[in-house]
């Protein structure tokens, strides 16, 4: 079910009405039923039901058994087996082709010719999200951070809660159990606030992301025609398309969840104002970062192997030696981020290896940069230096995303090669500039809406913009809401050759 479709709006409307009409005791059952409708709406088959049931049963019984066999050897065995089954299913559904491609490459290198054909597997919406969410549920029970849910249907609601299915965020059982099953009263103010957030999400998706997408798709689709500055613009525009698409869909589902009375953790906090790649990733897909930190990075760093390595490196290389286990753990974490994004090498490079390399160099070149700035008397706290750092971070992120967007590593490299053609006059020549999917009006709308986006994001880092809006007088408040609503209706891209509703992060 696409978030910008009429079906989704109707689905939310019906869910909300029933949810607030029924006795509060059974509100969570309504949520479970609507979540099941959402889950199987696009893919209902015996195989998808099997996928959903397998993860649920493994998580539910795994959690109960971990508690039953607490502090025995069996506890660890149950935990590891449960995680292995969930991961095994995820790998089977999402990463078969990556394994086949790797296998075929090795076969070719060895001079053999028996290649394996690629496969198509139908997986349920959100499986990459709830697989990891259920793994964290099991680990949290093992760590004693939460208790296993005794009611299998309640466990199912935690797993299938429909707002998180399209594109996250990653949630923890410990926080969700306080929200999901309690009684929720209808609250008019909360509904208004949720609706505004939904509209802001639709604005990001329909007005900005879809529009920018026209341009990016046109350039990527016809690289021999659109080169030089077109290729550079496409590379610089894609992060905007991705951000507005992803954070927009998060806004929509957070808005729905807010109306339901269930708060979800924030996933973005103005990433484009970050001054370093490290800071950028702290503000981008926050809940994925937190998940990886808690369940991969920290346990890995604390493992006996890393601690021993730490001691050896400290002895051999002094104070800097301790960075070796850090980088090793970081490498594993970034590899996991890359793999999580999808079963293709483009994702591993674009969202895994390049960001890792950026962070590595950023960290190691920081002392040198500090020295140079001191010699040149550059004010590191000044506005212009901040701006330079933010632009640099954006450009580095755009570079990494070339591979994320490309259909293959070769296509990514081809785009970079095309960038080297020097043709800045296309930016000044209206006739040429407006041939890449967007006409003059579209360009103007895009620039204006991106400015609005940056202003809102800038203030969102300091204040709660919606709260501030609702404190304004009736004229300002409604004027802002109407402008937002009419911009979506008038400037939204609704199709005709372009699928505004294909969510980039839904693919994961």
């Amino acid at each position: 079910m696409n978030l910008t479709s009429f079906v989704f709006l109707a689905f939310c409307f019906i869910t909300l009405i029933i949810y607030f009409i029924v006795p509060k005791k059974i509100q969570w059952i309504i949520l479970l039923l609507s979540s099941l409708v959402f889950l199987f709406y696009d893919n209902f088959s015996l195989f998808t039901v099997f996928q959903a049931l397998l993860i649920l049963l493994v998580s539910y019984f795994g959690g109960r058994l971990i508690e039953k066999y607490r502090d025995t050897k069996k506890e660890t065995v149950i935990l590891l087996c449960s995680i292995a089954i969930i991961l095994g299913l995820l790998i089977y559904l999402k990463y078969s082709n990556l394994l086949i491609i790797t296998y075929n490459h090795i076969i070719t290198l060895l001079g053999m010719s028996k290649k394996v054909e690629l496969v198509t597997r139908v997986s349920l919406i959100g499986i990459s999200y709830y697989s990891l969410i259920m793994i964290s549920y099991l680990i949290d029970i093992h760590r004693g951070a939460c208790k296993a849910q005794k009611n299998i249907l309640k466990c199912a609601l935690f797993m299938y809660y429909f707002p998180i299915l399209p594109s996250g965020p990653f949630v923890r059982y410990e926080t969700m159990e306080k929200e999901l099953y309690k009684k929720h009263k209808f609250d008019y103010d909360r509904m208004c606030s949720g609706l505004v957030r939904m509209c802001w999400g639709f604005f990001k998706i329909l007005v900005i992301s879809s529009r920018v997408g026209y341009f990016v798709d046109t350039v990527y689709g016809n690289m021999s025609k659109f080169k030089g500055f077109f290729a550079i613009l496409a590379a610089l525009f894609f992060p905007l398309q991705l951000y507005t698409n992803f954070s927009g869909s998060i806004d929509v589902i957070m808005g729905v969840s807010e109306i339901l009375g269930i708060n979800l953790p924030e996933n973005f906090t103005g990433p484009f104002f970050s001054r370093t790649i490290t800071e950028f990733w702290r503000n981008w897909h926050i809940t994925l970062g937190a998940w990886l930190k808690d369940y991969i990075f920290y346990p890995l760093l604390k493992s006996n192997f890393m601690q021993k390595l730490n001691k050896v490196c400290k002895k051999k290389f002094g104070k800097n030696g301790k960075k070796i286990p850090l980088y090793l753990s970081m490498f594993v974490m970034w590899l996991a981020i890359g793999i999580w994004h999808g079963g293709a090498y483009t994702y591993i490079i674009g969202s895994g290896m390049i960001p890792f390399a950026c962070i590595f160099f950023e960290d190691n070149l920081a002392p040198l940069a500090k020295k140079i700035n001191k010699k040149l008397r550059i004010d590191e706290d000044g506005f212009w230096y901040h701006l330079y750092q933010s632009v640099r971070t954006y450009v580095l992120f755009s570079f990494a995303m070339i591979f994320f967007r490309a259909s293959s590593i070769m296509q990514g490299l081809r785009l970079i090669k095309r960038m080297l053609v020097f043709n800045p006059w296309v930016l000044l020549d209206n006739k040429t500039l407006y041939t890449a999917g967007l006409d003059m009006r579209d360009f103007h709308v895009m620039i204006l809406s991106v400015i609005v986006l940056f202003i809102v994001d800038y203030f969102s880092k300091k204040i709660n913009v919606r709260e501030k809006l609702f404190k304004q007088n009736i004229i300002v408040r409604w004027a802002a809401i109407y402008i937002l609503l009419f911009s979506i209706i008038i400037f939204g891209c609704y199709g005709l050759g372009y699928d505004a509703t294909s969510f980039i992060y839904q693919g994961f």
Binding site: A145, K293, D294, Y298, L301, K302
Partner: protein, 80 residues
Amino acid sequence: MSREEVFERLNKVFQDIFDDDSIVVNEETTSADIEDWDSLEHINLVVAIEQEFNMKFNMNEVTTMKNVGEMVSIILSRIN
């Protein structure tokens, strides 16, 4: 062992890990108060504390401890 004694021994671990003899931790101290206290140092610190007090933090505690006061409470609950 009393809370004060734990603080005293803990202070030495902090000074050792962060290579700074001027560090004095109290109930309210957090990672924001010590410049080098990042995720790596946090793990190194946790491991050094485990060795000093001959106890183990579980992973949930490692990621959720809010300040040194909470850290001391966990240590006391394990060693007494």
